[in-house]
Amino acid sequence: MLSAPAATNGTKAVVSVRSETDSQQVAKRPAASSPGGGRRIGSALGRAAWWTAAVFGLPFGLLALWWVLSADSETFYLPPLSEILASFDDVWLHSDRLAADVLPSLLRLAAGFLLAVVVGVGLGVLIGSFRRVRAFCEPVLEFLRAIPPPVLVPVLMLFAGFGNTMKVLVVLSGCVWPILLNTVEGVRAVDEVLTETCRCYGIRGPARLWHLVVRSASPQIVTGLRQALSVGIILMVISEMFAANNGLGYTIIQFQRTFAVTDMWTGILLLGLLGFLLAMLLRLFERSALHWYFGLRQSQRDDGQR
């Protein structure tokens, strides 16, 4: 939470050791040092090959293992991987399930998640900015966030029935806490010197809110987003398993109830794939939104090792 201020404090003395003149020309820090000389191309190829092996080796190895071990599987619950993959196409791609089930699920998730971002960041900035408001709300928030979000499904079913509203609310109710609480922490930790700088230069109102408060808190907010996303996916699935007539969760649970085991496995795979892809999407967003933060951290780490 206070990584930025605390670390900068420590860095100050170290940074100054670097003399002005030597860095005058080289404004940007050199990227990861690359080996020089003629071996460069060869070693780059070698590194690429190594990297490829490192990234894809184990996943494909595991898949292959699964494939081989399950090939002659007679167990009803563990069909051969070859069968699962073969029916994946039929179940998801050559049917209207992509549009009729997967898309609605994703839309509910997106709606609930985005609402949670708006509510969570908005309230978080408000609560984090005022000490008294924070003190007033803290115990209630501590309690509310400790309630396991899935138990709210029955409650929200009472209020909002079985429709989309209920599912969006379920996702919202689960996603909002990590975002809210992380935003509060981030806003609390806004650097004093930066705050004073803003006061001195007449930066206030919306400009201050965005350029100082939200940007300062953005690393924590993104942490909140990441936690919220994984909760959100869970809740999307659960709300559909509970009460729905379409959606990914509904479809998977239907497969299970009708003992369509192979189809069920394709659903599990798809769900896993979606979880992974959404996490990647968030990672991409994080890379671009927080690239300054990673740079700052890296430079502090470099200084720490000098």
Binding site: A4, P5, T8, N9, T11, K12, A13, V15, S16, V17, R18, S19, E20, T21, S23, Q24, A27, K28, R29, D191, E192, V193, L194, E196, T197, R199, C200, Y201, G202, I203, R204, A207, H211, L212, R215, S218, W292, Y293, G295, L296, S299, Q300
Partner: protein, 312 residues
């Protein structure tokens, strides 16, 4: 006291500090950081304020900047009492690493305050930013991020931001305390040249006697906390100064010795001070307990340690 010392442009004092007193009210105890400060700064002057670490220098500066309300006394800037950060003022903080926005490029950092001035159109704003960056020698790195730069360069960015703001008065709070000696000398000359070129009034706070004498037209010597003005030394060195010639001149040595003597006296005089009404065992300057006194050169004592120093 000496309200009309060397007004350069003859337009009377730009900043008037009268009987400034600042007491920090703590839990049941209070700390008197500044007891009684009276001085004025004329338009276009470069005044250095020097005093031992923990002499309430930062407190004084924050009061003038409108960041802290004084307990009593008057602060008048350009004829108007200071009640919050005044519009015609820019501040350069010691902690360059924390006063620049790490999520903004150098150019965005310099430009942000200008965006709050409604009177500036975009072209003019860009022009100001370019000029300011060129003036501090950073014209070629507008798109770098502060953390990609060395400490001295970061402080140049902060300086550019202040200059681009076109302030009437520029406050600098030990701005070079945390950069290395070589960089520091460069930055001092930069401040002198900016001052001469722009005609801006500068109040420069430092704990380094040499720096104060080298930079200033006047040096205000502060006592240890609770703070008083001990002396107001006019620096009659030639206007053109350079690190080697000026610093080795006999006059520089005399002035330096004079200020040094005052500071020593300030330290020595502390026990015979009239007993302060508040608890003298408390730290002089609560902010300095937070900031980094490790940079203090050897000519000033480390800040007094006290068991309550860390209590916040």
């Amino acid at each position: 006291m000496n309200s009309t010392a060397l007004p350069q442009a003859g337009s009377g004092p730009l900043l008037d500090v009268r009987a400034l007193r600042k007491v920090y009210a703590g839990r049941g105890r209070s700390v008197e950081a500044v007891r009684d400060l009276t001085f004025s700064v004329g338009a276009g002057e470069l005044v250095c304020v020097v005093g031992p670490s923990g002499a309430g220098k930062t407190t004084l500066l924050k009061c003038i900047a409108g960041l802290l309300p004084p307990t009593s006394g008057e602060l008048v800037l350009e004829g108007a009492p200071v009640q919050g950060p005044p519009p015609g003022m820019a501040v350069v903080f010691q902690e360059y690493g924390r006063s620049l926005f790490p999520w903004m490029t150098v150019q965005q950092n310099v430009e942000l305050p200008l965006k709050q001035k409604k009177s500036l159109d975009k072209a003019r704003r860009r022009q100001l930013v370019r000029d300011a960056l060129a003036a501090v020698g950073l014209a070629d790195v507008p798109d770098a991020y502060p953390w990609q730069l060395s400490g001295g360069m970061q402080q140049r960015v902060a300086l550019a931001r202040a200059v681009a703001y076109e302030p009437h008065i520029l406050l600098m709070d030990e701005p070079f305390a945390a950069v290395d000696a070589q960089t520091r000398a460069d930055l001092e000359d930069l401040v002198r040249s900016l001052w001469q070129r722009l005609g801006v009034t500068i109040l420069f706070v430092t704990h380094d006697i040499d720096e104060a004498v080298y930079l200033g037209q006047r040096v205000l010597v502060l006592s240890a906390s609770p703070t008083l003005v001990l002396d107001d030394v006019a620096i009659d060195l030639p206007a053109e100064r350079d690190q080697l010639g000026t610093r080795s001149s006999a006059r520089f040595g005399e002035l330096r010795a004079k200020v040094f003597g005052q500071i020593q006296r300030a330290k020595g005089a502390r026990p015979t001070d009239p007993a302060p009404p508040t608890d003298p065992a408390l730290p002089a300057d609560p902010e300095h307990a937070d900031s980094d006194p490790a940079d203090s050169p050897a000519d000033v004592p480390p800040p007094r340690q006290s068991t309550d120093a860390g209590s916040r």
